[in-house]
Symmetry: C2
Subunit: 454 residues, 2 copies
């Protein structure tokens, strides 16, 4: 049996798959927070190019991938799929475990799948400069790479504490040619205001978003780019699931359960949606398990409400599972999973019980990550270890029940630039964290008050 | 045209290729420094298992790879080969550029090819504990991974300055289960002596080797392991070249020139020797270019002499191109290329003009690395950028001459845990360095005096 399932470049999908076409309940519209009316393309055009706005609101089932985007995908796509023979052996499980590995991309995660597409549509419309925010640095690195491919300037606002603590990520962005500024910076009014109040602030993703959006709004040749949450971002990630279907076909297999960590939702959606289509239209019965950190439990303990996508309240109101846009997650290392809400599409699917969610504490995740490194030879990103932990639970359950099942994991990235997290784990510096029901209820009070009237 | 050339797991070579069988001039024997007589297996048995010593002195053309080793190779082998379409386009060259990418291994370089083999033979002979030294950390990580596969304890002495400056590498070793000690340590007499003299010493590879060997000699169940230079290490790396021959066959191509950086010689040998066999026995005319840093120019400015393999003078005397075992290379970032000598096999081949050598300054190498990242999407290790720089020279020469040629590079590892080097490059902190003839001559005086009589 072969551990690796590779595809040819001709197997890179020709279209992105848009799950909106097949959802039994379509997502509710985003709302303009000032008017309470559905937000339209005009609400988004100051910051996004029209090509992406059209995808954001599209109900077409398939959207063709431009040739130039497919050509750049060829740098690392199709990504490999592996049978986790080492992990299976250690667990002595009757389950078959496969993982799709997105860590082979230039930035080391799934993020370039959408970064390349987004920069393409910006380039088409004459954009010269793209701004974004980055926390842990995965998204900024992906956008920096994509911009280098289209000779577009990339301007990244990196949360100051990450800028100081994760210097390697900053250098990776520089290597791909991006400008990286610690946020808050003195380059924007938003940044200057914050710095005037508190020159020593460590920053936040909310502030960094404000800075990046402010720069985009100011200048006709500058647009803004977001790495998760939005419909078009999830759309671009569906290359992952489409390739996976083909790879499992070659292996003569089909997943009983698909597992992926969920931060905003893009890597979960990327692997799940093409298989979920088969549930919706071909009667397949695959389970889809989104894994979130117990320290940021929007899916399992949040509420389905209209909320802002950013903490500053600049975005339209989005219907989603949320902990409130001012929610402060516990300080865990999986920076990509600390977002207060889940994408509109994933939220609607969870509400409709078409997908499942589970929250896992970080110590279990790091333990799973160490096991995975030793058995599979890949040191996973802290975000990805959440998926591994759930896979181990599923495989152990299969053993307990004495039934075989086929598990597919989206291993969304490597952890080579996150080794500080493993160091803290080994040093016993990490702990688990749960929020009380009251803490979560209080955080949502403000959000409950701003819901639109039914 | 496909950028990627993948092989099946069944294409992993069944044998290692031993170039000694085909060398027109066999390598001269290592000498016991005390007696001046050829060193035999008994000189090595306190520190290496007999399985490896037999390979070290073997003249058999092919040595079978044990099934268990091949099974572990399957975790990442066969490694991919890529056509460098992005780099070719940027250079606008008639040359075709291919690179074999060893960065997909668990430790991110070619080193596990020999680490797995070495740990296997130790396990066969009941060894419970393997010691080694590591400078930059690549070798220690590879050995840590290999030991985790065989459930053997791994004890790494890491040069203190690297231990302090490269914490990510240490954590990677811990993740694979290794114990890592900053060297000098208080665990050995050698370490304690040095610490007594200078408690603040930053350590050296020579001291770390002394500590690792001392631990191996003390204990019957403990052996020592070396990551380059020795014949058996080069032997194990020949899986790289054998796979490359097959991959280029699929592409319908054959290399006119093969380029690889040379530190001790193992990654250069790994890709070159199977092709060199075709020069020696099939009349092929491939050129083989070993690239060294100008700041450690043993191949281009050293002399072919008997010298110690380590700075402490514990090893047998080896016939090799050397700058003297006390040579202090300039402080450059490519830690893997700062070794004072070249392996016996590579040295003999260079002496016989069957391979070539070139020295390149580090600024040209980092510039090449940045170009490669932007065009090929891979951030290369500082060591590997030396190969890239030479590939660019070859491709530009081909353009100047208006001739096509096929270039094959061994891209021996990624740079994700070496981003500090890129940061220093961007910050203008790096400079080029050359040694004067006099400096090099003085360094060799002591070595010239200790040559055996002819």
């Amino acid at each position: 049996m072969s551990r690796k399932i590779f595809l040819d470049e001709s197997d890179i999908p020709s279209h992105w798959y848009n799950i909106v076409a097949d959802m039994p309940n379509k997502p509710q519209p985003p709302l303009n927070p000032k008017t309470g009316q559905p937000a339209g393309p005009d609400d988004l055009s100051p910051i996004f190019p029209m090509g992406l706005i059209q995808q954001e609101v599209s109900a077409d089932r398939y959207i063709e991938i431009p040739d130039q985007v497919r050509d750049i995908y060829k740098i690392w796509r199709p990504s490999p799929m592996y049978r986790a023979t080492g992990l299976e052996k250690l667990l002595d499980t009757p389950a078959k475990i496969y993982y799709k590995y997105e860590g082979v991309s230039p930035s080391g995660s799934h993020k370039p799948n959408t970064a390349v597409a987004q920069v393409y549509y910006n380039k088409q419309e004459g954009v010269k400069n793209i701004t974004t925010e980055t926390g842990a640095g995965q998204w900024g690195t992906a956008l920096a790479f994509a911009c280098s491919q289209f000779d577009i300037n990339c301007e990244v606002y990196m949360v100051r504490i990450s800028y100081d603590q994760k210097p390697y990520r900053k250098v990776m962005m520089n290597t791909f040619g991006a400008e990286v500024y610690p946020s808050p910076s003195d380059r924007t009014q938003a940044g200057r205001n914050i710095l005037a109040d508190d020159p020593e602030t460590s920053g936040s993703l909310g502030i960094a978003i404000s800075e990046a959006i402010e720069r985009a709004v100011q200048d006709d040749h500058t647009k803004y780019s977001l790495g998760s949450v939005l419909n078009h971002v999830l759309l671009h990630q569906t290359v992952i699931g489409q390739e996976s279907i083909k790879q499992l076909e070659y292996a003569g297999d089909y997943p009983d359960v698909i597992v992926a960590p969920l931060g905003g939702g893009s890597n979960f959606a990327g692997i799940s949606f093409p298989f979920l289509k088969n549930n919706l239209s071909d009667g397949k019965k695959t389970r889809f398990v989104a894994v979130e950190p117990a320290s940021c439990p929007k899916l399992t303990q949040g509420e389905f409400l209209y909320d802002f996508g950013d903490s500053a309240g600049y975005t339209p109101l989005l219907p989603m599972y949320t902990l409130g846009h001012n929610f402060k997650p516990a300080a865990i290392h999986a920076g990509g999973l600390r977002y207060h809400g889940a994408s509109v599409l994933c939220s609607q699917l969870l509400k409709d019980e078409l997908i499942e969610a589970v929250a896992i504490q970080q110590l279990e995740c790091f333990e799973a990550g160490v096991t995975f490194a030793k058995t599979e030879g890949i040191i996973a990103a802290p975000e990805a270890t959440h998926g591994i932990a759930q896979v181990i639970r599923e495989a152990e359950q299969a053993k307990k029940e004495g039934v075989s099942k086929t598990i597919l994991l989206n291993l969304c990235g490597h952890g080579f630039v996150d080794m500080q997290a493993y160091e803290d784990y080994f040093a016993g510096k990490l702990s688990d964290h749960s929020f009380s029901e009251n803490e979560l209820k209080n955080g949502l009070k403000e959000i409950l008050e701003m819901q639109p009237e039914a």
